[in-house]
Each structure stands twice: as structure tokens, then as C-alpha cells.
């Protein structure tokens, strides 16, 4: 059976959920071979094996942390040469997309970014994409070379499928370009203790209607009652009320949770672009004409300062 390379996104060996989803998708096309770069392979390998990796190729070198993107492209290319896979799958993070694109160019392959689903097809894997702010769904495939495809978080269920997960070191020769862009400092993001926005099953977002940074705890309290991640519209981010990392939309994160709750958000096209594929959508807005109501499964026309605290209380009561 053909092998499929899966690029592992991890933080010091803690494998991020989108990679496990990729392993599910990879198994539809062939046998997943995971590529783990940087520290923590010992911790990652059993997790990758548990989710279907037949092999785990590992490489660690200071270049991966000290220079931008290119060292990882060099390594993925080395893995590609070693395996001759049927496809290469990479999580659709900003960095993942850049790595995938440069690899595709080097190996003479087409690239598809931001797939939301993947199936085997007669002429290679068929990717589903959601385009024009999710107004259209397209089916596409790579017609030249080995398909390189990046996949968005929450595109497949994580499934246990134990496989050998044999760990093999990957030897990497860095290209001249590898050390071109130096990372002179790195400040890790502080953990909020809440789920990662793109991975969360429930997202509660606040917009301009929240009225100020001092009111965001109302949104956070609702999120915490549901075990949800907190999102924000660009208006709220630009006003400095909430960090940019939490922005949902075209120039922020794109999310596709089971439940999306928008509070004080009008529903501009650029916001919709990042949340329209959510399974269930709920909005609280005092303007009955707000476009967000065109999307909702359930909407409450009302003042969020009344509705949200009452909702949070009721959830707590129901959960006992």
C-alpha cells in the first residue's frame, strides 16, 4: 500500500490535535508515515503510532528552531526522497502552508491549501475546500506530481488505529537557503488554560458590542461554563480589547466548531469567512437586522449584558 507523509505539528513533542486528524485522513489514501522535526520525538512517537503512523521519521537540529521555515522544508524534502509517498499532508497553519508550498515547488507538484475534507479518488486524492467566505464548496485535486495538501483543523475525527510506529532517524542536509532568515528571539504565548481556538468544540466570540476590554470577562465566563475557547471580531481586536491571536475571520483564525456563539458581532463577510462552516451557530445581538442572524440556528435579539450572564447562570444550574 502507498505511503502518505504526514508533517507533525507539535510543541516540544506534544502533538497538536490537527496532526492526529491528518492521520485519520491519511489512512483513507494509504499508510501514514509521520515526520517529526525538533525535540520531543520520544514523547510524540507513541501518540503517532496509536493514531495510525506505520513509521515515524525524526530529525532534530538547532536549525529548526533558529531559522524560519526553510530548514523544515529541507527535512520534509529529505523525507519525501526517502519514502516516495503517494501524497504529503501538512496541517494548515501559517507555517505549515509555507513549508508545504516550498516543498511542492521543489518536487514539481501542485499544492492545495486549506482542505476541509479528503477522499481517495481515481486520479489521486480529492480535496474539498470551502471558498469565497464559505459561499462555495469546491472539489479539487493535484494534477501534476505528488499531491501536497494542507488541511484545516477540525476536518476529520481523531481516531485510534494502532500501528507499528517504527521510529527511524532521518538524515537531513540543509540547503544554502536554510539559514537565510534568523529567528533572533521567541516569546511563547501564555497559556490561558482554555482550549485552542481552532481546535475547540465550542467557541464563544465577542465583538464591538462587548463595549470594552473590561467587559470581556462576561464572554469568558460564558466560554468557561461550556469549556469553550474565546474568540473576538476584528473590531474588538483593533480596539485593543482582546489579543489578535483570538481573532476569528479572514485575517484571523478560521474555526469550524460544533457550536459557535457570537455576542455583539454584526456578521461582516470577513468575520463570516472564519466561522461560517461551524455546525451550530448562535448569536446574541440587540439589532434584529444584523446579518449574523442570517446564519443562525438560534438567535436572541437582545442586550448581551442581560442575555449572556443569564445564559451563563442557567448553564451552570443545568450542569449542577
Amino acid at each position: 500500500m502507498a505511503e502518505v507523509l504526514v508533517y507533525v505539528d507539535h510543541v516540544d513533542g506534544a502533538v497538536r490535535k490537527p496532526t492526529l486528524e491528518l492521520l485519520t485522513l491519511a489512512r483513507r489514501i494509504g499508510e501514514p508515515v509521520a515526520v517529526h522535526l525538533g525535540p520531543g520525538a520520544d514523547a510524540a512517537a507513541p501518540v503517532l503510532a496509536e493514531h495510525g503512523a506505520v513509521k515515524v521519521l525524526t530529525a532534530d537540529a538547532p536549525e529548526f528552531a533558529d531559522y524560519l521555515v526553510v530548514p523544515k522544508v529541507d527535512a520534509l524534502q529529505a523525507a519525501y526522497k526517502a519514502v516516495s509517498p503517494a501524497a504529503v499532508l501538512v496541517p494548515s497553519s501559517a507555517e505549515g502552508k509555507e513549508i508545504a508550498a516550498r516543498l511542492a515547488l521543489r518536487i514539481g507538484s501542485g499544492i492545495i491549501t486549506d482542505a476541509v475534507d479528503l477522499e481517495a479518488g481515481d486520479e489521486g486524492p480529492v480535496a474539498t475546500q470551502s471558498v469565497f467566505a464559505a459561499a462555495f464548496t469546491t472539489k479539487s485535486r493535484v494534477s501534476n506530481g505528488t499531491p501536497v495538501i494542507t488541511v484545516k483543523p477540525n476536518s476529520a475525527a481523531v481516531e485510534a488505529a494502532p500501528a507499528a510506529g517504527t521510529v527511524e532517524p532521518l538524515s537531513v542536509t540543509f540547503s544554502d537557503q536554510a539559514t537565510g532568515t534568523k529567528i533572533t528571539s521567541r516569546t511563547p504565548r501564555e497559556s490561558t488554560g482554555r482550549p485552542e481556538l481552532t481546535e475547540a468544540a465550542i467557541v464563544v466570540s465577542g465583538g464591538r458590542g462587548v463595549g470594552g476590554a473590561e467587559n470581556f470577562p462576561i464572554v469568558e465566563a460564558l466560554a468557561d461554563s461550556l469549556g469553550a475557547a474565546v474568540g473576538a471580531s476584528r473590531a474588538a481586536v483593533d480596539a485593543g480589547w482582546y489579543p489578535h491571536t483570538n481573532q476569528v475571520g479572514q485575517t484571523g483564525k478560521s474555526v469550524s466548531p460544533q457550536l459557535y456563539i457570537a455576542t455583539g458581532i454584526s456578521g461582516a463577510i470577513q468575520h463570516r469567512a472564519g466561522m461560517q462552516t461551524s455546525k451550530t451557530i448562535v448569536a446574541i445581538n440587540k439589532d434584529a437586522e444584523a446579518p449574523i442572524f442570517d446564519l443562525v440556528d438560534y438567535g436572541v435579539v437582545g442586550d448581551l449584558f442581560e442575555v449572556v450572564p443569564q445564559l451563563t447562570e442557567e448553564i451552570k444550574t443545568r450542569k449542577g
Binding site: 509555507e98 508550498a101 471558498v131 462555495f136 464548496t137 469546491t138 472539489k139 443562525v296 442575555v307 450542569k319
Partner: protein, 261 residues
């Protein structure tokens, strides 16, 4: 020596309009209003700021696109860029991102450059990979997705706010940079700027000028194929209630019914 900056700008269908596909499943660029991609305005802005800091700099705005893409160049010129290059050729219709990166790379080399500035992503394709592809093709450092950027003594520095960390980056010129919408509001063209733009030079090149074979670009040359596009079914109308004191509780009942609580 003068700092030669090339800014890549894309002409895109208006996102607030009705965007759709043409018969051949390419993005319909004929029947819709187009404009300079808003995300590329940030690239023009940062290029202007870098040139204002430099002793001597010249900004060329570059686009690959149909006849109407000149509108995007005019807008960038009216913001303050010095000259423009328009790559236009009927054979370019349907070119994918790999092909576009080839055409842009050739045009950038022909123009001559020390710094290439791109937007973070196009608002129609939203791939966000073209700057990385350009760096790969040109064989120069990529310093991408910057929320802050500066150039001094032949070095470009910037801040990249990623998912898990915020990084400071550094590379020597020549380099390819892309900037995010966090990099700072783009200026509006002034009346004077709009008038001046009318007199600024716009050079047109076709594939032959760039010595590119027609069969490596366009729909035929694309390395990806779109087999189908379907409009997302309209969401079935949901329940909308007006809060009369019990809105939060009603919503909680809905969430419980859907098993979220």
C-alpha cells in the same frame, strides 16, 4: 545606492459583492467589480514607510492580472508608489499559484530589486503561500507574515506573531517580505496623489517579454485542477427570539436540546 522595492499587488473581486465561478471553474473576474486587494494595501503602506526611512528608494508596484488590474496599480500609485508593471497575457487565464509565482519571479528579476513586499494573502485565493514561493524561486530569504517591519543597513527585521509564539526575524537583503493587516492602517490616496498617479509610468509586459512558455501557465499549465464547485446551500432559517427577560434561559434550553449542556 537606491533601495529598489517591488510590491506585489493583486486585483481581486470585491468580497462584499457576489463572487462566483466562471464556466471553466476559474474565479469569475469579468462580471464582478474588482479592486486592489485590501490586504495588499498594507504591503504598499509598509513599502512607503520603508522608503520614507531610506535615503533613496524607488517603489515599483507589480501585478499579474487582466486588463482591469490596472485599477489596482493606479490605486497603489496614487498612494505614493513611483512606477508600475502590469503583466498581462491572454494565456495567463487560469494560472494557479505555482504558475503565478513563476511569472512574478521573472518580472521581479527583470525589474531589479532589493526588497519584495507582499500582502499576507489574497482576499480571493486566500492561500497565503505566494511570498514563500517567490522566496524559493528567487533564492532569497523569506521574512513573512510580519506585523512590524523595518529595513536598515541592508538588513530587514520584523516581528512574526505565530500560533504558539511571537518571533523576531532578521535577514539580509535581497529578501521577500509579507506583511499582515496588523502592520498598520494603510493611507488613503490624497487628491494630489491621485492626480500625480495619472502621470506615473505603467509598463506592460506579456509572457514573451518575460521569456515564459505559454504552456507552463494558464489552465493547461496548472498543477491543480478544480473538478467541481457547488454553492453552499443556504442555512435553513433558525429560530429567532426577542429577549423579554428570559432570552438567556431560552437559549440555554436550545443548547440543552442540542446536547451542548
Amino acid at each position: 545606492m537606491s533601495l529598489r522595492i517591488v510590491v506585489c499587488v493583486k486585483y481581486v473581486p470585491d468580497a462584499t459583492g457576489d463572487r462566483h465561478f466562471a464556466e471553466d471553474l476559474t474565479v469569475d473576474r469579468d462580471d464582478v467589480d474588482g479592486l486592489l486587494s485590501e490586504l495588499d494595501e498594507y504591503a504598499v503602506e509598509q513599502a512607503l514607510q520603508i522608503s520614507e526611512e531610506a535615503d533613496d528608494a524607488e517603489i515599483t508596484v507589480l501585478t499579474v492580472g487582466p486588463e482591469d488590474a490596472k485599477d489596482a496599480l493606479r490605486k497603489a500609485l496614487s498612494m505614493g508608489a513611483d512606477k508600475a508593471v502590469h503583466v498581462e497575457d491572454d494565456d495567463l487565464h487560469g494560472t494557479d499559484v505555482v504558475g503565478t509565482s513563476l511569472v512574478l519571479a521573472k518580472a521581479i528579476e527583470k525589474t531589479g530589486y532589493d526588497l519584495v513586499v507582499c500582502g499576507m494573502a489574497s482576499t480571493d485565493g486566500t492561500m497565503g503561500v505566494l511570498p514563500a514561493l517567490l522566496a524559493e524561486r528567487l533564492g532569497v530569504p523569506q521574512v513573512t507574515l510580519l506585523s512590524e517591519v523595518s529595513v536598515e543597513d541592508g538588513t530587514v527585521k520584523g516581528r512574526r506573531d505565530g500560533d504558539t509564539a511571537s518571533e523576531l526575524l532578521e535577514a539580509s537583503l535581497p529578501a521577500v517580505v509579507s506583511v499582515t493587516d496588523q502592520s498598520g492602517e494603510a493611507r488613503y490616496p490624497s487628491f494630489k496623489g491621485i492626480m500625480a498617479a495619472k502621470k506615473k509610468p505603467v509598463t506592460s509586459w506579456d509572457l514573451e517579454d518575460l521569456e515564459i512558455d505559454a504552456d507552463v501557465v494558464g489552465l493547461e499549465g496548472a498543477w491543480t485542477a478544480v473538478d467541481g464547485a457547488t454553492e453552499r446551500p443556504a442555512r435553513t432559517a433558525g429560530t429567532i427570539v426577542k429577549d423579554e427577560g428570559e432570552g438567556g434561559k431560552q437559549l440555554a434550553a436550545f443548547l440543552a436540546e442540542r446536547k451542548f449542556i
